[in-house]
Subunit: 492 residues, 2 copies
Amino acid sequence: MSDQKLKPRLPRGLVDRGPAEIAATRRMLEKIQAVYERYGFEPVETPAIEFTDALGKFLPDQDRPNEGVFSFQDDDEQWLSLRYDLTAPLARYVAENFDALPKPYRSYRAGYVFRNEKPGPGRFRQFMQFDADTVGSATMAADAEICMMAADTMEALGIPRGSYVVKVNNRKVLDGLLESIKLTGPDNELKRLTVLRAMDKFDRLGRGGVQQLLGEGRKDESGDFTRGAGLNAAAIETVLSVFANVPASENKLAHIQARLKDSETGQRGLQELEEIWSLVNASGYGDGRVVIDPSVVRGLEYYTGPVYEIELTFQVQGGQDGTPRFGSVGGGGRYDGLVSRFRPEPVPATGFSIGVSRLQAALSYLGKLESTADLGPVVVTVLDRARIADYQRFVARLRADGIRAELYLGSGKMAAQFKYADRRNSPCVIIQGSDEQQRGEVQIKDLIEGARAAGAIASNQQWRESRPAQFAVPEASLVEAVREILARHGAR
Amino acid sequence: MSDQKLKPRLPRGLVDRGPAEIAATRRMLEKIQAVYERYGFEPVETPAIEFTDALGKFLPDQDRPNEGVFSFQDDDEQWLSLRYDLTAPLARYVAENFDALPKPYRSYRAGYVFRNEKPGPGRFRQFMQFDADTVGSATMAADAEICMMAADTMEALGIPRGSYVVKVNNRKVLDGLLESIKLTGPDNELKRLTVLRAMDKFDRLGRGGVQQLLGEGRKDESGDFTRGAGLNAAAIETVLSVFANVPASENKLAHIQARLKDSETGQRGLQELEEIWSLVNASGYGDGRVVIDPSVVRGLEYYTGPVYEIELTFQVQGGQDGTPRFGSVGGGGRYDGLVSRFRPEPVPATGFSIGVSRLQAALSYLGKLESTADLGPVVVTVLDRARIADYQRFVARLRADGIRAELYLGSGKMAAQFKYADRRNSPCVIIQGSDEQQRGEVQIKDLIEGARAAGAIASNQQWRESRPAQFAVPEASLVEAVREILARHGAR
C-alpha cells in the first residue's frame, strides 16, 4: 500500500443516503405502491443496463451513443447503456413478453435512472423514478385513470386537496395550434421546437418572457441572448392564448376550440381532452384535482396524445428563481410509438413518472415525512474487557426478546462508551462491574431521563451523588427493566 | 420509423423480474432487515457509480480499469465504474464521513452490484447483495456478533436450525499453514494462490481432487489439465489436515494447533479463532449454529483475519455437479486494510454479504416464500362503450373503499373481457347492461365460485340457464356485495 492515500469522494451528481432519508423514502414508496396496487397495477422490474439501441439512444446517423447516457461496450463489443428513464425499458419488456402479458397491461416500478449530464443544484446523475403505465389500451379512459391515480397518490402521501393539481393537455392540441399558425412541414421543424420550448418556460419566465422567445428573442439577466422563433404578432397572440387566465376546465376547452377550428389534428386533440374531462368529472375528480390546461408541454420527446403534469401549488419560502409554487413533481403522457419500435402491430401506451427525490423534498417541506425519531439500540457497556462474553450474553438476551441492542465494540473507556451511546440515541446503557456481578445485578442508566435530570442539577458533586436515572436490577430482570424504560419513552 | 423492427431483448446475464419474484424478495429483505436492526445496525445507501480508483479496480500498472468491472469516462474524462460489490463503496463512504459517524459504525445495505463477466447458469451481470458491516472495531467480538447475526437471519427466514451452519476460519491460520510448509516469500506467491484455490474447491472436487491440485495437477472430465501446486507428500498431508473429519469445533482447534506450532501468524490466527469461539459459545450459538472450520478459504482478495461462510446443509434433489448440499449463500470476513486505503489511521472492519438471489432460490426450494396467491383486482366490464363514464364510477367507488379494482381498458368484446379477468386472477367481474341499468342494478359474477361450479355442469345449455355464481344487486350495494365475495375467498 502506498503512502499516497486515495481521496475518498464521489463523482459530482451522485449522493449517499443515510438512515433518516432511507426510511422516509421507504415510507413514501410504500404509500405510492398501495395506491397503484388498488388501481390494479402490478410490479415489474427491469435491470439498470440495456442494449443502447433498445433505449433508442444512438446519436442520429452515428454509431455512437447519445452523450446524455452512460454507455460502455461489453466483451462482445456490443454497446450497453444505463437506463436514463423507466419508460424505454418498459417498452422493451412489453415487446419481449408481449404474448405472455395480460392486455391491457398495467404495471408500476420504482428504480434508479442515470443521466450523463452536468449536475447542478437539484440535478443528479443518479435519481429515482416511480412509474406507472398502461400498455395496450387506446382508450382515453386509460389516461383519465392515470390522472386520477396521480391525484389519489398525492393525497395518500398527505398532500391536502387544493395543494396539488394534475394538469392535462394533449400534444395534438399543441400540434393543431402550430398548424393554425402555419408552422407545418419539415422545414419548420426547428421553429416548432423553439415554440414548444418557449411555451415550456412559461412557469419560469412568465408571459413577457415567453412572448419575447416567440418573437425576436430574449436577453436574460446575465446578458445572454436566446434567439426567438420569429413569429409575427398575430401568431404570438394565438400561441399565448393557451395561457389565458380562463377559470374552469370547460371554459378552457371552449376558449381554445376557436383557435383550433381549422386544424384537424387540433380538433382530434380537443375531442380526446373532452373525453378525458368527462371521465374525470364522472368520477368526481373534476373538482380541481384534475384540470384541463392547454399550456402543458411536458418535454419534447415521444408523446403522441394526452400529456399530464402533477404540480404542487402551495407557496414556498425562498423558492428557486423566485417562483412562488413548488412546481412539478411528475408527469407523463401517451406514447403510442414506443413499443411499436419493436412490434409489427400498433401498441398504444400511456403512463406517468414521479420524480421521487423532488417529491420527497416537497413532502419534507410540508412536514409529512417526520416520524417519531426512532430510539437507537440499548448499549451494553464493557467495563472489564476480560468479561466480554458475559456482556455479550446480556446483549443476546435482549435481542432474543426483540429489543435492539448492541455490545460496545470500540476500544474506548467508560466515558467514550457513554458518548457513543448518546450518539446512537440509545434509550439506556447496561453496566456491570465486579460489585454488581457479585450481587448478581446489573446497573441500568436511563439516558433520556438522565439528560432531563442533568438540566436540573447544579454542581458536579451533586451529579455524582445523585446518579440520576441510574438503578440496579437483578440480572434475571434485565429484559423486563429495559422493556419498562422503552415503554416509558414510547419506543416502537 | 423504419420498417426494420428492433429486436426486443436484454444483454446476456441480465434479467427482468415479475410480481411474484418481486414480492418474495421484498418479504425476504424485510425479514433480514428486521434482524440487522435488532442488532443495532442502521441502513446506508451509496450510488451505483463510483470513481474507478475508489473501488481499487485499476489494472495493476495500467491506466485502464479491470476488465471485470463496467467502466466508462464522464465528460471530464474521469474513469467511473459500476460497483461490483457493496464493500468497496462502504469503505469509501466511511472514509469520507469518518468524523461524523459513530465509531464503531454498524451499518447494513442491500443493492444491486454489477460484474462485467461471462454470464452462465446462476451467474448474472447484475445481482443483489445484502451486506452488514462493523467498521472501527478491532475486537473479535465484532466478528462473533456478525456470525451470530448470520445465524439469526437464517432462522428469521424460516430455515430450520440444523439446516444451515455458519463456518468460521481465520486467514492467518491459512497463512500459518503455508508458512509451516515453507511456502513463504514473494517467490512463492503464485504457489500460495494455487494452494488456496485448490482448497477452495474441496466442496466440489472432494479430497482426491484437491490432493491432485496440491500435487502435480488434475485432469477433469473434459480432459482439460489443471497444473497443480507441486507440493511434496508431507506438505500435501499438512494442507489436507484442515479437512480432517474432526467433529467438534474445540477438537478442530486442537487438531490444527499441532500443525501451526512453528508459525507465529498461525498461532495468532488460532488465538483469534478461539476468542470468537468462546464468545459464540457464551451466547449459546456454539450448538452447531456457528462452527469452527479451518478449511474455509472464502475468496482470495482483501481478508486479513477471520473469514466466515453461511452454508445451507440440507440435501437438494439434482443439485449442481452432483453436490448433495445447497451450499454457500453468503459470507465475509475482516478487511482491516480497505478503509485505510483512504485514511492515515488504521481502520479495522469486518462484515458479511448475503447473495440475495441465491438465498431466494434456496428459500423457494424449501417452500418458505409461498404466499396465498393474492387475488387480482375486481374487473368492471365495458358492455356499452358509450357508458364508460358510468363504469368508471363503479371502479372509483370500489377503490375509494380500498378494494383493488379496474375498468377493462381493452377493445375486446365480453368474452375477451372475461378472459382478461381470468388472466388477472380476478375474484369477480361487474357487468351492467341496459336492463340492469333501468332496474338500478349491477350483475356480479364470482369467477372463483363460477370456475368451481363449471366443473359440475354437463352441457352448454345447462350452463347458460344456470348462470353459475352470477347474481344481481342494487347499485348502492355494489361495494358491500364485492366485499362479501372477497371475504369468501379469503382475500387480504
